[in-house]
Amino acid sequence: MTTFAIAQIDELWLRGKLAERRLMHGRAEERGGEIFASDERDDALVAACEAAIERMRPFIPHDARVRLVSRNGDATMTVEINGISIVTTLEFVAQDMQLLRSVRPVTRHPSPAPLAWLHGSAAVLLHEAIGHPRELNIPDVAWPEWLRVDCPIELRRASFSDVPLRRMTRVVVSQVNAPFALPDDRIDVQLVRGGAYDPLTDVVTIDVAVPRFTFRATRAEVAAALLGAAGEPLRYPGVVCSREGQELVVGSYAPVIVTRGFA
């Protein structure tokens, strides 16, 4: 028998004022191929969530839309300013806020100019192009030999009433002896709004937040577009991945990667 227990507190803060607060807890047992779920309370988990939320509150910026989520004591803070957001933790909130405040939302039209994926943002591209197909047991396409992607997959669920699914736990992109040249005429991808992978069409969609543009490409096109990479993996500030309506945080890391444009 497999047992899963969860407690979660989430709070929405708008410009420094509490707007919403939810407590959720529950337990699921798998017996005879069925899941029996109820909102049973585990006091220790609830207390861990309360403590984690308390620790985060002093760091809430007063000029932003902020969502605090503590799940079994692990806490994340999603901060949105001017339509651009990051997902951070207590450990990294200062440096991630600095990044968020340093970028400006400008719109770019699709362009053939190469893309330089900064701040670990290439992890989002490869989350969609490699991670999701692996979750779905879809065979890989041919990726550059210098590319390494560590994305362990486990059965995970967002809540006690959800069916566990094969989901990534993290995405760590690295490179071994990759070629690298930073083109002068390029677009710097600084933050990514979201992405998707459709197994029906094998198409990856990436919504870049800064600068603002969207592109779609097949996995083979993404693989062919990878030109090079440099340095160690950098932590990307925030990937909350949603599949089948279940939102889960996926730790994401990637070096600076250069791709062709996807115009």
Binding site: R22, E34, I35, A37, D39, S161
Partner: protein
């Protein structure tokens, strides 16, 4: 005023049967929305029986796969809930299906129990043809009476215009939002023969039957109910 909900759901989700029991309450205080679980006590009993009907519906849907038409997703739910807002108490029972059928390159979404007829039509689909101009008929809409909204108010017959009088509360954890409910188009004009829309297709399209021939056509999403 506090809203309370006690609920029980049996859900068949892509091969896994899930039984969920939960109860919770929500309230608003100085504009702040709060929600938390509460003791069960009075969970309604309408769906206490075996989930055989949920499983039977799901298995029936799985049998709709044929030739190059695959079933990508099947979710069948049967739930019963008791609601209370102030002195008003009401109960509802819901039966829903959500199915995604695949026939490359199309993904057809079905939220209706008659999956078999859509699957059969999809298998006969001849390709894409643009009927959007025929389907793009402006129509008035009305809210049909029935049930209660998220604050326990009766949902009454209204023409859909202006601000919705009712609030939708999909879960006790979600702050209610104004929304039209039980909406349908008001038949108001005669137009030339148009194909019959059978189901939505991913990407802003629809599966249509045009005199016995089946096609996929683009749709204007703002024309959807």
């Amino acid at each position: 005023m506090i809203y309370r909900k006690w609920g029980r759901v049996v859900r068949w989700e892509n091969g896994t049967l899930v039984r969920v029991e939960e109860a919770g309450e929500a309230w608003e205080e100085n504009g702040v929305f709060f929600a938390r679980p509460i003791a069960h006590g009075v969970i309604p009993s309408a769906s206490e029986g075996p989930p055989a009907d949920v499983v039977a519906v799901a298995e029936g849907i799985l049998r709709c796969a044929q030739d190059d038409t695959e079933i990508e997703r099947v979710i069948v739910t049967h739930g019963v809930a008791l609601h209370q807002y102030g002195d008003v108490r009401w109960q509802d029972e819901t039966r829903r299906v959500h199915v995604a059928l695949i026939r490359k390159p199309w993904r057809v979404l079905v939220d209706d129990f008659d999956v078999a007829s859509v699957a059969s039509a999809l298998a006969r689909c001849e390709g894409e043809r643009d009927f959007a101009h025929l389907l793009d008929v402006p129509c008035a809409k009305e809210q049909m009476p029935g049930g209660r909204d998220g604050y326990g108010r009766p949902i009454e017959h209204r023409r859909v215009e202006g601000e919705p009088p009712n609030f939708y509360r999909p879960s006790y954890r979600v702050r209610p939002v104004r929304q039209w409910m039980n909406v349908r188009a008001i038949p108001s004009a005669t137009t030339q023969a148009a194909p019959k829309v059978l189901a939505l297709v991913d990407g802003g399209k629809a599966l249509v039957d045009d005199g016995g021939r089946v096609f996929v056509t683009p749709l204007r999403p703002d024309r959807l109910l």
